[in-house]
Symmetry: C2
Subunit: 392 residues, 2 copies
């Protein structure tokens, strides 16, 4: 076995989940998914496809119908370019994570330097490592109010002509950090000079609560990029359409990359199931019935949880502008993996340890607030408060 | 973009299919799939899962129920080891091709030497190339009767201590070549000495017509291997269960590799959809309702097509013992890609060019005989005969 594969970071979230195995009544906020089932009409589209027998191989890049739907969706959010422009820049992938892995396969030679802004979900660091890259992380820092912020100058200084690829995830999992349009423009301009590719994980684009953009979504690199920029944007059906378990996402690519990525899809998964793609097509066509309501609900979840957490002595957190996570520091609990394990066993509260997302986030905990019933969040906050008072 | 990705072989089968785009009435035998829809009861299991809302993330290595079903299936075919032995050696993957890619990711460093026996489906060569390996191919040769045969001594001589991985696909796509148990034992013994991993693509194991084995299946490396051998066997639900479009397969691994492969799954696709895994579980549980009838039917297909092809002047082929392909040489048609394009346009016959599978198969054509209606095969053979007489 390759040493790099052996040394890939174990999922610390999984480690906490294992600590809670067999325990009853645990309130689980550790994984990055809502507890809400995919809407009926999306599931029904998959069922209809199965009933008519769509059980055969499909094209590597995805069903044309789905790619057209994605093109329309992209145009609606980023109207600078026509719908038709997008079709040839879309590759449907077997999940957002699969799209990100394909991007690393397309760009990263063994020995290449890759820069990743952290904290970030572990996959962003692991994927270029699997391809043999030397990964350097550039950590966000914590402001006085507990918000994670980026030192733009430090980031730009760390990206040099030796940097093949820069990977960012904003709105960010776990911190809720978002990029401004100006920062995106500055990063892109810098990377044009250094010849560095930008891989932007924008799967939380729609889960944005700040109401300070024209489209309601978080700022996107697409809004400041030229069609031929060295930019790949990764998306997923998981978060905005409540479709985590379907394993479907897409990449937006410079046109010249679409065909090669199609070849990589052939050699990785060949294609996504047609019945899954039919469901996703309907999800986009009737997206107004899902995403706006979901965003409103997530905002209510955030606004339920964050004030309750802030009232707890020793908790430090800033209100996240996007995403679906409350990321907070617990005073005196620097070994957050141990804390998370104790919380699940002693308080019946399932959170993810910050150290899962980068060493700079040791002492932090991630709480996914995507919960159908916001009362579960209040109940969880009460468990945390009680545990801190009595057991910690 | 990486030069190796740019230079990955285009799918020549796709090129032929494109040549037939928009043409009516083409008899298509070019892809490696049956034209039969997945059986009702398998689709119904997926539908039931969707109806009860199984739309969430699942474990990296697959549902325990499915892994148990695979363990039982493996034990039935290879009874040397108990069912319980297998569970910890199983990783469920997003298709057989995905399993093979994960195996390359687990084993192959950039610069490593990988040996692939060809002709083979192009993915087996492309995957280690994507990981940066130096791939050497060891070609089968053609015997007097048109059968593709392996020179065992030549293969063993080509695998040295410098060889990290040996990849073989038998029963073979496209040639129908199979390995004998003695050959498998000799290869394994040799690879033990050189420290070389063996990656055996055995997805056609069940599609075997020779009736010369105890289990009715083709000889498998599992029957000659020790549990800790450096051996990975790749399987798929596609061929034996008529589930090509579902994208589900599995790997049988040395126990020490299962957990690391689970990490790789996290970073590639995270998991396969639960509803797909439910369907696969039922497919295995009620496999007797699918596979034996399918094998019998495929044998009838083979026995319909092969004699008809052999009657055609200029055609050379041996009867394949396994798989679902008739692979034949057409005298005087050395540019088989051009021939395949002409056949689709001029004769309405869709075949795959042999050169798609290795340069040594130039001048050959692959015919997938997995057809619900064997009369389509006879009709296709008649088109070939007519075209050769009048147009070629």
């Amino acid at each position: 076995m390759r040493p790099v594969v052996e040394s890939l970071e174990e999922s610390r979230i999984r480690e906490v989940a294992n600590a809670g195995m067999g325990l009853d009544g645990v309130l689980k906020f550790w994984f990055g998914e809502s507890d809400e089932v995919t809407p009926d009409f999306i599931r029904e589209a998959a069922i209809a496809s199965l009933n008519v027998g769509e059980t055969f191989y499909a094209r590597n890049l995805g069903l044309p119908e789905l790619r057209h739907a994605i093109a329309g969706y992209t145009h609606t959010l980023h109207p600078q370019l026509a719908t038709d422009h997008w079709f040839d820049r879309i590759a449907v992938t077997s999940g957002g994570v699969n799209g990100l892995m394909l991007a690393s396969q397309a760009l990263v030679e063994a020995g290449d330097e890759v820069v990743v802004v952290t904290p970030a979900w572990p996959n962003l660091v692991a994927q270029p490592q699997i391809m043999g890259a030397r990964v350097r992380t550039v950590p966000l820092t914590v402001a006085a109010d507990g918000a994670w912020v980026m030192d733009l100058d430090a980031l730009l200084a760390s990206v040099t002509p030796a940097t093949k690829l820069l990977i960012l995830n904003a709105p960010n999992n776990p911190t809720g950090w978002t990029l401004t349009r100006d920062e995106q423009a500055a990063i892109l301009a810098h990377c044009r000079r250094t010849g560095t590719w930008v891989l932007a994980d924008e799967v939380y684009e729609r889960l944005y609560f700040a109401s300070d953009t024209a489209n309601g979504a978080a700022p996107s690199f697409l809004d400041v990029a030229e069609p031929d920029d060295r930019l790949i944007v990764a998306h997923s059906f998981s978060k905005s359409f409540l479709m985590t378990g379907w394993r479907l996402g897409w990449l937006l690519l410079p046109k010249a990359l679409t065909h090669p990525v199609g070849k990589l899809i052939e050699f990785n998964t060949s294609c996504a199931p047609v019945f899954v793609q039919r469901a996703a097509t309907v999800a986009l066509q009737r997206g107004d019935e899902v995403t706006p309501g979901l965003v409103k609900h997530l905002q209510r979840c955030r606004d339920t949880l964050v004030p309750l957490l802030r009232e707890i002595p020793g908790v430090q957190l800033a209100e996240p502008k996007g995403g679906m996570y409350a990321f907070f520091r617990l005073e005196g609990q620097d070994d957050c993996l141990a804390t998370a394990k104790r919380l699940v066993r002693e308080a019946g509260l399932g959170l993810a340890p910050g150290s899962a997302f980068g060493p700079e986030a040791a002492g932090w905990l991630r709480w996914c607030f995507a919960s159908r019933d916001p009362q579960r969040l209040a109940q969880g906050a009460e468990r945390l408060r009680h545990w801190l008072r009595t057991a910690a």
